[in-house]
Symmetry: C2
Subunit: 238 residues, 2 copies
C-alpha cells in the first residue's frame, strides 16, 4: 500500500494539499517541501485504516472519497463521530499528544489518502509554527462538533436527530417541482451508526415522516415536501 511517489504525483499531492485547511496559507514552495514527505495510500470501501487504541503512526488527509471516524461497542453497535471528505484530516490529535487513537477510522467509499508520519509532521511544524496554530483550530472545530453530538445524544430523540440530519442534507439538495430532492449518503445501517441508533429506527422514522406528509421516500432518494414542517419538529419537543 505504501508506494514511492513519482515527480508528477508529488505535484498532484502538492495541489491536493493546497485545499486542506491545515495547510492553507503556505507558499507554493513550502507546499512542495511538505508534499515530499507524503505518501499516497488507497483504501477500498469498508476498509479499516486503524483501530481505536492503536498507537498513532501519523496524520491522514483525505484526497478523494470519505472516511468515517467511529467508536464501536463490544455488542457491535457503532457511533460515528465524524465523516471527513476531501480536504479533511484524521488523527490530528494523537499525532501531537502521542497517545493512542481514541477511535477507529474506516473508508465509507473507495478513497485516496495522503499520509505523513508523526515524525515528519512534527519536524515540519517546528519550522512552520503557523501550522501548529492551524492544528489547534482544527482540533477545536472537532471538539465543538463532539459537544454537539453529546448534546444531541442526551437531549434529543432518534426521530429528531434523523430530522436534523435530513434538514442538513436538504441544504445541499436540488429543488424540483415536488420539493427538495437528495440522496441518502449511505444505507440505513450507516445512517443509524451516525445517529447512534439501529437500522430499524431509521427505517421506521422515515416511513413515519412520509406518512405525516413531510417527506417522500423512494429507495434512497428523499423528497422533502414540507421543510418548514420538518424544522418545526426540531424546535418543539416532538
Amino acid at each position: 500500500m505504501v508506494r514511492i511517489l513519482t515527480v508528477a504525483e508529488h505535484m498532484s499531492v502538492g495541489s491536493s494539499l493546497a485545499g486542506v485547511p491545515l495547510f492553507s496559507g503556505l507558499s507554493p514552495e513550502e507546499l512542495r517541501l511538505l508534499a515530499a514527505h507524503f505518501v499516497r495510500k488507497r483504501y477500498s470501501q469498508g476498509e479499516l485504516l486503524f483501530s481505536e487504541g492503536d498507537t498513532c503512526k501519523g496524520l491522514h488527509i483525505v484526497d478523494s472519497g470519505r472516511l468515517r471516524i467511529f467508536k464501536s461497542s463490544p455488542s457491535g453497535r457503532e457511533q460515528v463521530l465524524a465523516v471527513e471528505g476531501p480536504g479533511g484530516s484524521v488523527a490530528e490529535l494523537p499525532v501531537f499528544d502521542g497517545g493512542p487513537y481514541p477511535a477507529s477510522v474506516s473508508a465509507v467509499e473507495d478513497s485516496q489518502v495522503l499520509f505523513i508520519s508523526r515524525h515528519d509532521l512534527r519536524n515540519f511544524c517546528r519550522e512552520h509554527p503557523e501550522v501548529a496554530l492551524k492544528m489547534l483550530a482544527v482540533v477545536g472545530a472537532r471538539l465543538r462538533r463532539l459537544v454537539g453530538i453529546i448534546e444531541e445524544l442526551s437531549f434529543t430523540t432518534v426521530r429528531q436527530r434523523l430530522v436534523s440530519a435530513l434538514v442538513r442534507l436538504a441544504q445541499t439538495g436540488r429543488r424540483s417541482k415536488r420539493g427538495i430532492e437528495f440522496e441518502l449518503p449511505g444505507t440505513h445501517q450507516e445512517i443509524a451508526h451516525q445517529l447512534g441508533t439501529v437500522r430499524e429506527l431509521v427505517s421506521r422514522n422515515l416511513m413515519r415522516l412520509q406518512a405525516e406528509g413531510l417527506i417522500h421516500v423512494e429507495a434512497r432518494s428523499i423528497v422533502v415536501l414540507d421543510l418548514h414542517g420538518l424544522t418545526a419538529l426540531l424546535e418543539s419537543g416532538s
Copy 2:
C-alpha cells in the same frame, strides 16, 4: 467581583499557577510575570460564570472549589461535560479560536478562580510558545474525555454509567472493615446531570445495587461491599 490584586496576592497567585498543567515548566520569574495579568474572582455555590454562546472574554483557572462545564436543554435537563477542580482550566478552546463558549460553566461549590483576559493570554503565548503546546495537550485531553462521554451515552445504560462512576469514586475512597467508603460528591440531582439522566434513576439504581448486596447506602455515604461484583457489571452487558 473584579479587584486589583495586592502584592501579597500576586505571590499567592503565582504559587497557585505553579500547579496548573497549562503553566507547569515555567520558571519562577515567568510565573511572576504571568501572575501580574491575573485577577482573582470569587463565585458562590451555583453561581454562573458564563453561558453557552457568550463571547469568550478570557481563561479561567480554578484555585479552590470546583467548576462544572455543562450543556442544558430547553426542557431543563442538563448534561455535565466536565468538573474541574483546583489546577483545572476552563475555556482554553474559545480563548484560542475566538469562537463563543460551547457550553456553560457554574460553580459546584464556593470557588476562587484566577482569570486572565484573552488578549493578555495570547500575548503571553506569543512570547512563550511552550504554553501554546501545553494548550494543545489540555484541549486534547478534553477531547478524549468527550469521546468517552459519547461512548458512554450511546453504548451504556444509566445503571452502568452509575456503576462506573462509583468505581471511579471508590479509587479515592478509604477502606474500612466493611469495604471501601466514600461520599457522593453532590446531590442525586447533580450526579444525574453528570450521567446525563434524571434524579429518580440515580436513586433507584443506588437502591437496586444495595438490594443486590453490592453496596451499602447511608444518606450520602457509600460503602462498596463487592468491588469485584461492581466491575463485573461493566464488562458483561447488564
